[in-house]
Symmetry: C2
Subunit: 183 residues, 2 copies
């Protein structure tokens, strides 16, 4: 989950590219309109379905349920849902997931956790993306981490760049750990 | 209206700073939580009220109505409402405004109009902000403009940077023109 354009699909591209030889990954893409994001994922030859909500500002359990027959869960290690770009509404709708990941990105400014607390409260992981752009902003990473942990002390926080690849190894390790724990 | 962190409040700061000697400006700030944005506007000594929606993902007419008594509209030339950071829901709720302005920013990627068409359809102006960061992205401005005009041929589109000030004069001129037309 994240604002529009924080880098959710880019993260999936990076994750699938690095992990698809060790984990069977499947994806649901959610957007108001277009199949752009699903098309980006299709290039990796893994199962992916695009849900278009048309106007709805978040995926809900019914929409997800409607496409689950497209997947073989016995053959899936890691199932990822990319929600509609929205830092508010997705927090309120349980999709049956084990973990929620919230992404913020450097150009958005470091005040997002305190301004949009609900989505941080319900997350397991916060990803701070686009750290390659830090030099061009006044983003205070320590502040964002502190504010996030104030809202939710159990958060794991990773600083990453989907552009350069920096920091992604810790994210991949966390994913591997969750898959291992659930086996 | 824009995604979280595109630069709405920065735009207001720039606009008030440049125009407050010629126009009486008043502002409503809308956020889930915090008074951060209203505090930034207060520094300019103009009337401003912060609405906290708590959980709601958009301002609605009732919330706006609830604070209108804080203002003297006879003494106001330009009244601006900054909505909750959200590229979806605010499109669906009429606040009684004359014009809607949608802001996108360079780091978000150039596919936002086609992915979130409703909010562009209902706008009068699209602002493309943070053009100072163009060099560090693959943002195709021509594509974003073309897609926006396909959705809504009447859109005025301004490329700006609230950081450097580039492009803001055309935006100020448009505002002056709207104020003049309504007198
Ligand atoms: N500089 C930089 N740009 C990035 C990074 N990650 C993603 N981007 C860019 O950010 C833009 C948006 O990336 P997406 O992956 O489409 O973002 P998204 O969150 O999936 O967007 P929506 O699905 O529309 O909400 C693209 O232009 C990416 O190239 C990063 O780490 N650094
Ligand atoms: N590089 C660059 N950064 C900008 C520009 N305009 C705003 N910013 C930065 O973007 C971040 C967010 O700016 P805000 O004005 O708070 O954005 P906002 O849309 O009001 O955010 P919300 O109200 O939380 O949705 C801040 O760190 C600003 O300094 C710009 O033109 N260029
Ligand atoms: Mg995406
Ligand atoms: Mg703001
Ligand atoms: Zn919603
Ligand atoms: Zn909503």
């Amino acid at each position: 989950m994240s604002s529009p354009g924080s880098g959710k699909t880019s993260l999936l591209e990076r994750t699938i590219d690095s992990l698809k030889n060790e984990l069977k990954i499947a994806v649901i893409e959610g957007d108001l309109q277009t199949t752009n994001d699903a098309e980006r994922i299709e290039k990796y030859n893994i199962p992916v379905t695009q849900i278009n909500t048309d106007g709805a500002c978040h995926l809900d359990a019914n929409m997800v349920d409607g496409v689950l027959n497209n997947y073989n869960f016995k053959e899936t290690d890691l199932f990822v849902i990319e929600n509609v770009g929205n830092l508010v509404c997705p927090a309120g709708f349980d999709l049956g997931e084990d973990d929620r990941v919230v992404m913020v990105s450097i150009p958005e400014g470091d005040d997002k956790p305190i301004k949009y607390p609900v989505i941080f409260r319900k997350a397991s992981v916060v990803l701070i993306n686009k750290i390659d752009l830090l030099a061009y902003t006044n983003f205070n990473i320590a502040k964002t981490k502190k504010d996030s942990l104030n809202i939710n002390p159990n958060l794991k926080i990773f600083e990453i760049s989907c552009k350069t690849g920096e920091g992604l190894d810790s994210w991949f390790d966390w994913l591997r750990e969750q898959v291992r724990k659930k086996r």
